[in-house]
Amino acid sequence: MPAGDAFSAGQLDAIERAIEHAHAESGLDYSVFVGAPDGELREQGRQLLGALGADAERSVIVVVDPAHRRLEILTGATAARYLDDRATALGAMSMTSSFAAGDLAGGIVAGLHTLSEHARHPRTLHTDRTE
Protein backbone atom coordinates (compact mmCIF):
# COMPACT_ATOMS: atom_id res chain seq x y z
CA MET A 1 0.00 0.00 0.00
CA PRO A 2 1.26 3.56 -0.64
CA ALA A 3 2.41 5.68 2.30
CA GLY A 4 -0.08 8.20 3.58
CA ASP A 5 -1.52 9.72 6.72
CA ALA A 6 -2.58 7.48 9.58
CA PHE A 7 -5.41 9.77 10.63
CA SER A 8 -7.80 12.25 9.07
CA ALA A 9 -7.72 15.88 10.23
CA GLY A 10 -10.77 15.27 12.41
CA GLN A 11 -9.22 12.19 14.04
CA LEU A 12 -5.95 14.06 14.70
CA ASP A 13 -7.91 16.92 16.23
CA ALA A 14 -9.77 14.50 18.53
CA ILE A 15 -6.50 12.89 19.69
CA GLU A 16 -4.86 16.28 20.30
CA ARG A 17 -7.86 17.42 22.33
CA ALA A 18 -7.72 14.17 24.34
CA ILE A 19 -4.01 14.79 25.06
CA GLU A 20 -4.74 18.36 26.23
CA HIS A 21 -7.64 17.16 28.37
CA ALA A 22 -5.53 14.39 29.90
CA HIS A 23 -2.79 16.88 30.74
CA ALA A 24 -5.27 19.31 32.30
CA GLU A 25 -6.85 16.52 34.34
CA SER A 26 -3.72 14.84 35.68
CA GLY A 27 -0.87 17.32 35.23
CA LEU A 28 1.17 14.73 33.30
CA ASP A 29 2.40 15.10 29.70
CA TYR A 30 0.93 12.59 27.24
CA SER A 31 2.06 11.75 23.73
CA VAL A 32 1.09 9.06 21.25
CA PHE A 33 3.40 7.45 18.70
CA VAL A 34 1.77 5.48 15.89
CA GLY A 35 4.03 3.62 13.49
CA ALA A 36 5.61 0.31 12.68
CA PRO A 37 9.21 0.48 13.93
CA ASP A 38 11.62 -2.38 13.34
CA GLY A 39 12.81 -4.13 16.46
CA GLU A 40 11.50 -4.03 19.96
CA LEU A 41 8.61 -1.65 20.55
CA ARG A 42 9.53 -0.92 24.17
CA GLU A 43 13.01 0.15 23.12
CA GLN A 44 11.41 2.55 20.63
CA GLY A 45 9.36 3.95 23.53
CA ARG A 46 12.49 4.40 25.65
CA GLN A 47 14.12 6.33 22.83
CA LEU A 48 11.06 8.57 22.51
CA LEU A 49 11.16 9.11 26.26
CA GLY A 50 14.83 10.11 25.93
CA ALA A 51 13.96 12.61 23.20
CA LEU A 52 11.72 14.49 25.64
CA GLY A 53 14.73 15.48 27.75
CA ALA A 54 13.82 16.91 31.15
CA ASP A 55 10.08 16.44 30.44
CA ALA A 56 10.51 12.65 30.31
CA GLU A 57 10.05 12.34 34.07
CA ARG A 58 6.45 13.56 33.95
CA SER A 59 5.57 11.97 30.61
CA VAL A 60 3.37 9.12 29.55
CA ILE A 61 4.09 7.73 26.07
CA VAL A 62 1.69 5.47 24.22
CA VAL A 63 3.42 3.55 21.43
CA VAL A 64 1.08 1.87 18.95
CA ASP A 65 2.30 -0.51 16.24
CA PRO A 66 -0.75 -1.27 14.07
CA ALA A 67 1.24 -3.48 11.70
CA HIS A 68 2.19 -6.01 14.35
CA ARG A 69 -0.77 -5.25 16.65
CA ARG A 70 1.46 -4.29 19.58
CA LEU A 71 1.02 -1.59 22.17
CA GLU A 72 3.38 -0.22 24.81
CA ILE A 73 2.64 2.37 27.45
CA LEU A 74 5.69 3.89 29.16
CA THR A 75 5.66 6.22 32.12
CA GLY A 76 8.48 8.48 33.27
CA ALA A 77 9.84 8.14 36.81
CA THR A 78 7.56 10.83 38.29
CA ALA A 79 4.55 9.88 36.16
CA ALA A 80 4.83 6.29 37.45
CA ARG A 81 4.08 7.55 40.97
CA TYR A 82 0.61 8.65 39.86
CA LEU A 83 0.02 6.06 37.18
CA ASP A 84 0.97 2.57 38.32
CA ASP A 85 1.32 -0.46 36.04
CA ARG A 86 -2.19 -1.67 36.85
CA ALA A 87 -3.68 1.65 35.74
CA THR A 88 -1.66 1.60 32.51
CA ALA A 89 -2.94 -1.94 31.88
CA LEU A 90 -6.50 -0.67 32.22
CA GLY A 91 -5.73 2.11 29.72
CA ALA A 92 -4.19 -0.45 27.38
CA MET A 93 -7.27 -2.63 27.65
CA SER A 94 -9.62 0.17 26.62
CA MET A 95 -7.33 0.94 23.68
CA THR A 96 -6.88 -2.60 22.41
CA SER A 97 -10.60 -3.38 22.49
CA SER A 98 -11.20 -0.50 20.04
CA PHE A 99 -8.09 -1.31 17.99
CA ALA A 100 -9.33 -4.87 17.45
CA ALA A 101 -12.53 -3.39 16.01
CA GLY A 102 -10.50 -1.22 13.61
CA ASP A 103 -10.94 2.07 15.47
CA LEU A 104 -7.42 3.40 16.11
CA ALA A 105 -8.30 7.03 16.85
CA GLY A 106 -11.28 6.14 19.05
CA GLY A 107 -9.17 3.66 21.02
CA ILE A 108 -6.41 6.19 21.61
CA VAL A 109 -8.92 8.81 22.82
CA ALA A 110 -10.63 6.31 25.14
CA GLY A 111 -7.30 5.03 26.47
CA LEU A 112 -5.99 8.53 27.19
CA HIS A 113 -9.19 9.27 29.06
CA THR A 114 -8.76 6.12 31.19
CA LEU A 115 -5.10 6.91 31.90
CA SER A 116 -5.73 10.51 32.94
CA GLU A 117 -8.65 9.48 35.16
CA HIS A 118 -6.35 7.14 37.08
CA ALA A 119 -3.48 9.61 37.18
CA ARG A 120 -5.60 12.39 38.65
CA HIS A 121 -4.08 13.67 41.88
CA PRO A 122 -4.23 16.81 44.00
CA ARG A 123 -1.76 19.52 43.10
CA THR A 124 1.30 19.54 45.32
CA LEU A 125 3.23 22.71 46.05
CA HIS A 126 6.75 22.74 44.52
CA THR A 127 6.43 19.32 42.86
CA ASP A 128 3.65 20.10 40.34
CA ARG A 129 4.12 22.55 37.51
CA THR A 130 1.66 25.44 37.46
CA GLU A 131 0.97 25.71 33.72
Binding site: G4, A6, Q47, G50, E72, T88, G102
Partner: protein, 73 residues
Protein backbone atom coordinates in the same frame (compact mmCIF):
# COMPACT_ATOMS: atom_id res chain seq x y z
CA UNK B 1 -38.25 3.82 -30.44
CA UNK B 2 -35.66 6.46 -31.46
CA UNK B 3 -31.99 5.68 -30.91
CA UNK B 4 -31.57 8.57 -28.47
CA UNK B 5 -34.39 7.21 -26.29
CA UNK B 6 -32.91 3.69 -26.36
CA UNK B 7 -29.52 5.06 -25.29
CA UNK B 8 -31.21 7.04 -22.54
CA UNK B 9 -33.05 4.02 -21.10
CA UNK B 10 -30.37 1.37 -21.53
CA UNK B 11 -27.09 3.32 -21.14
CA UNK B 12 -27.59 6.71 -19.51
CA UNK B 13 -30.07 5.57 -16.84
CA UNK B 14 -27.99 2.56 -15.63
CA UNK B 15 -24.84 4.69 -15.60
CA UNK B 16 -26.58 7.39 -13.56
CA UNK B 17 -27.92 4.80 -11.12
CA UNK B 18 -24.44 3.27 -10.83
CA UNK B 19 -22.90 6.67 -10.10
CA UNK B 20 -25.52 7.55 -7.47
CA UNK B 21 -25.18 4.18 -5.67
CA UNK B 22 -21.36 4.38 -5.75
CA UNK B 23 -21.52 7.88 -4.28
CA UNK B 24 -23.83 6.75 -1.49
CA UNK B 25 -21.59 3.78 -0.68
CA UNK B 26 -18.22 5.58 -0.69
CA UNK B 27 -19.15 8.98 0.78
CA UNK B 28 -19.25 7.83 4.46
CA UNK B 29 -15.73 6.35 4.29
CA UNK B 30 -14.40 9.49 2.52
CA UNK B 31 -15.84 11.60 5.31
CA UNK B 32 -14.55 9.32 8.10
CA UNK B 33 -11.01 9.19 6.74
CA UNK B 34 -8.59 6.25 6.53
CA UNK B 35 -9.77 3.04 8.15
CA UNK B 36 -7.42 0.74 10.01
CA UNK B 37 -7.99 -2.93 9.28
CA UNK B 38 -6.37 -5.25 11.84
CA UNK B 39 -4.27 -7.94 10.21
CA UNK B 40 -3.66 -6.05 6.97
CA UNK B 41 -0.45 -4.19 6.19
CA UNK B 42 0.10 -0.75 7.73
CA UNK B 43 0.49 1.99 5.15
CA UNK B 44 1.04 5.25 7.01
CA UNK B 45 4.12 7.27 7.90
CA UNK B 46 5.07 7.20 11.61
CA UNK B 47 3.56 10.03 13.62
CA UNK B 48 4.21 11.26 17.18
CA UNK B 49 1.28 13.30 18.41
CA UNK B 50 2.12 15.52 21.37
CA UNK B 51 5.83 14.66 21.09
CA UNK B 52 8.83 16.29 19.46
CA UNK B 53 10.36 15.91 16.00
CA UNK B 54 10.78 12.26 15.02
CA UNK B 55 14.19 13.00 13.46
CA UNK B 56 15.36 14.33 16.82
CA UNK B 57 13.88 11.27 18.51
CA UNK B 58 15.79 8.94 16.17
CA UNK B 59 19.09 10.35 17.46
CA UNK B 60 18.06 10.44 21.13
CA UNK B 61 19.53 8.30 23.88
CA UNK B 62 17.17 5.77 25.44
CA UNK B 63 15.87 6.53 28.91
CA UNK B 64 14.75 3.87 31.36
CA UNK B 65 11.01 4.14 32.04
CA UNK B 66 9.46 4.29 35.49
CA UNK B 67 6.74 1.79 34.61
CA UNK B 68 4.13 0.90 32.05
CA UNK B 69 2.70 -2.14 30.33
CA UNK B 70 2.62 -4.08 27.07
CA UNK B 71 -0.45 -5.33 25.22
CA UNK B 72 -1.46 -6.98 21.95
CA UNK B 73 -4.72 -7.19 20.06
Amino acid sequence: MPTVEILGWFVLLPLTLYAVIALLVYTPSWVRGPKYRPGLSWWAEPIWIGGTDLEVAAAAESVREGGGCSARW
